[in-house]
Symmetry: C2
Subunit: 435 residues, 2 copies
């Protein structure tokens, strides 16, 4: 008789429904590959009456998640409710009860990874979290298994579909941030409260997880420098295009052997960059290391079925471990527990980058000279300048510059000084350039 | 004491040296992630005197590969000599002796997979072959483990770096095929006899392997329709660009539920295609399925360290199985042995595609009408036409057309008929368009 792996699903929202649908619709192919059946023993959700467009046996539904956590029949708990609590408690209790856990909960792993991962390792249980970063993109498994011999030193990710959709739309249709956000909300690509997505917090959760896996370090989430896209204007996007660049919300993590430069912010990337054409709700992650130069993975970053398929892949992964008698096959956090070592986070002021600068200045003789003089006094070299339009009513005109590689601290000091000039009409703005 | 996994390496060429270097240089990170050491117990090569720029303990070198195959101390045999024999015999003997096998030998797996995979499965041993397709790109593991619940229905790959280098060079520098090939050879990107690479045979080996894994079918290699890039001219590339396309050597495998459309040929892809900017020696594979729309993986397709890193990932994978007590965790061919089912290969004449057609015709009144008349009689709709230059010396001028979606058999018949016209000066040419 074909063996059965028994799972319980907590949370029947977008991803949870996707998982249930996939296990039903693709039962056949899963069986042919795994050589076993996956059986959903119980599903918990606060709302068990809404029709989710699929057949679910009513008798396996419950509003009490603890029923699953304490069900001795269940091998794997799939946590898809998100947020810190009760997710954290349910996961820790499940581990305590000897169950493997699968979760798409990036917020929880980013903040409480130091608690959850060792707990699972200690019990020789697995935590599957492929769905927590990049939806259908197999980035977690690739770091843990495929690039296991590689000294990764650079991760760049477009890991938030909402922000990418908004930036793509602003770029394609020359519309404002507000209009693009509104349409994203109407189409269901942005939540009613889009703060986590557009302010870069969701991306920061994800880069914290990837950083842990790639470099073997815990990350104090609050130390990550985060800047969202709400300050990006369609003028910025147009100027970027004129210079041959696109603006993307990037999650970045670089390791120089001593400290980790981890940050989330809008960045200009050249049109020839392998992620420059990753648009709309697509996500991408680019990894560099000592052996393979670069590897780029592109795919759907969200959605019921793409993300659901990553969850089911984790279910099959753990099922294979159970069926083959494997214990502790791969450390959940990629490095062995006792090899995790805290690496300091670099202060953003220490980084070096090229910069796109946008000033709003009076169109007077000598303004360019004063501004470039201040930049020069901080050793900031100017690569190119565009001055746009002319205005004789004493209002500001845009002055755009691209700099040579400079130090962030110098840039910030120079901008502060320039913002104090009597010819400066608005607060100056900068966007980092990533090549 | 830290456990040790003992391996033997057969073949100390480009990839073999890469593997030895990685195991030495990155010993530390491998140990931290695996929790064990990888020890190279023996290395076999016909040439054990050439200096390969690294320290190798002379006492572990041998010219006799059978010494490794029969060494009871060795857990994993890494076969990196390529070709059919003696690689096939050495692999089968290793399996017979209870050893796991890792190989980068795509030719062998494409032709003799039906022998090698079941032999390993039967003995509950693993065959690792991540390095056989796409170098550092984790495509094998992704199909076997990450997209395990997905009904894959489309694979498109740029999987030969030599051909891609030549096409990229022809495109960037408007040079001829011969010149680009010559430079590829000078730079070491093409072999002295480049037939396998430029005539698509290497790409066909790779798509045969991916097809087996994705659809669970054996593939009779000789049934694959293969066309190389030696017929591509810089004019073709220029015309493609004018229409907004790039020309790539694609390995294609589509499954409609009944038959597999598997082929290798130069194809025109739109500039917005996610693989249009995959240039030079980079490789890419795009997968589509019922759940995730598309996933694209891009990376170095060849080279000592990138491909070596894929081999070491397989070593670590098998080491993890050994250390965790896992047997038969993942079927080598992705589907369970008894679920492999032969799917018929579609005849190329049955496929439908858009086509780029290039005629060389006399610049006479009525020529366009005769040619489009013939195309029309085969129900081939014309999307756009470019006629280039004028020539009054009775020589041919190029006439370029893009068609609507048409049937290959009709295209071939129409071209045959057109080639018989008295206004046709040279054999007509076509390139399939993939969107």
């Amino acid at each position: 008789m074909m063996p059965k792996i028994k799972i319980g699903i907590i949370g029947l929202g977008t991803i949870g429904s996707g998982v249930v649908k996939i296990l039903e619709t693709n039962r056949d192919v899963i069986k042919k590959r795994l050589g076993a059946e996956i059986e959903v023993v119980k599903i918990a959700d606060l709302d068990i009456t809404t029709d989710r467009g699929m057949k679910v046996d009513q008798s396996i539904l419950t509003t009490n998640a603890l029923e699953l956590v304490n069900d001795s029949e269940i091998d794997i708990i799939v946590e898809l409710i998100g947020g810190y609590e009760p997710a954290r408690t349910l996961i820790l209790e499940s581990i305590n009860n000897g169950k493997h856990v699968i979760t798409a909960n990036k917020a929880l792993l980013a903040k409480h990874g130091d608690e959850v991962f060792p707990a699972a390792n200690h019990k020789q249980l697995s935590i599957g979290f492929e769905a927590s970063v990049g939806g259908a993109i197999p980035i977690i498994r690739s770091i843990k298994e495929s690039f296991v011999a590689n000294k990764i030193n650079n991760i760049e990710g477009i890991v938030n579909g909402t922000a990418n959709y908004i930036l793509s739309k602003m770029s394609d249709e020359h519309c404002s941030f507000d209009l693009a956000l509104q349409e994203a909300q109407e189409k269901g690509f942005a939540e009613a409260d889009p703060t986590f997505d557009i302010e870069g917090i969701d991306s920061a959760h994800k880069i914290a997880i990837l950083t842990r896996l790639a470099y073997g370090t815990p990350i104090n989430f609050d130390d990550i420098n985060i800047q969202g896209i709400s300050g990006i204007t369609s003028d910025d996007i147009e100027c970027a295009r004129e210079f041959g660049y696109r603006i993307k919300l990037l999650a970045i993590s670089k390791f120089n052997g001593e400290s980790v430069d981890i940050r989330v912010h809008p960045a200009m990337i050249p049109q020839s960059h392998p992620m420059a054409n990753v648009n709309g709700v697509f996500n991408a992650v680019r990894l560099c290391d000592d052996l393979m130069e670069e590897n780029v993975l592109v795919g759907h970053g969200a959605g019921s079925l793409p993300t659901g398929s990553a969850v089911v892949a984790d279910i099959v992964q753990i099922a294979r471990d159970i069926l083959s008698g494997s214990k502790n096959r791969v450390s959940s956090q990629s490095f062995q527990n006792n090899e995790m070592k805290s690496i300091p986070i670099m202060n953003i002021k220490e980084i070096h980058s090229e910069y796109f600068l946008r000033f709003s200045v009076l169109d007077n003789a000598g303004v360019l000279s004063r501004i470039s003089g201040i930049l020069g006094s901080y050793s900031i070299g100017i690569l190119s300048v565009i001055q746009k339009g002319r205005n004789h009513q004493g209002k500001g005109v845009p002055l755009i510059m691209m700099t040579h590689r400079s130090n962030e601290k110098d840039i910030q000091s120079a901008l502060r000084e320039i913002d104090g000039l009597d010819v400066t009409c608005e607060k100056s703005n900068f966007i980092r350039v990533e090549k």
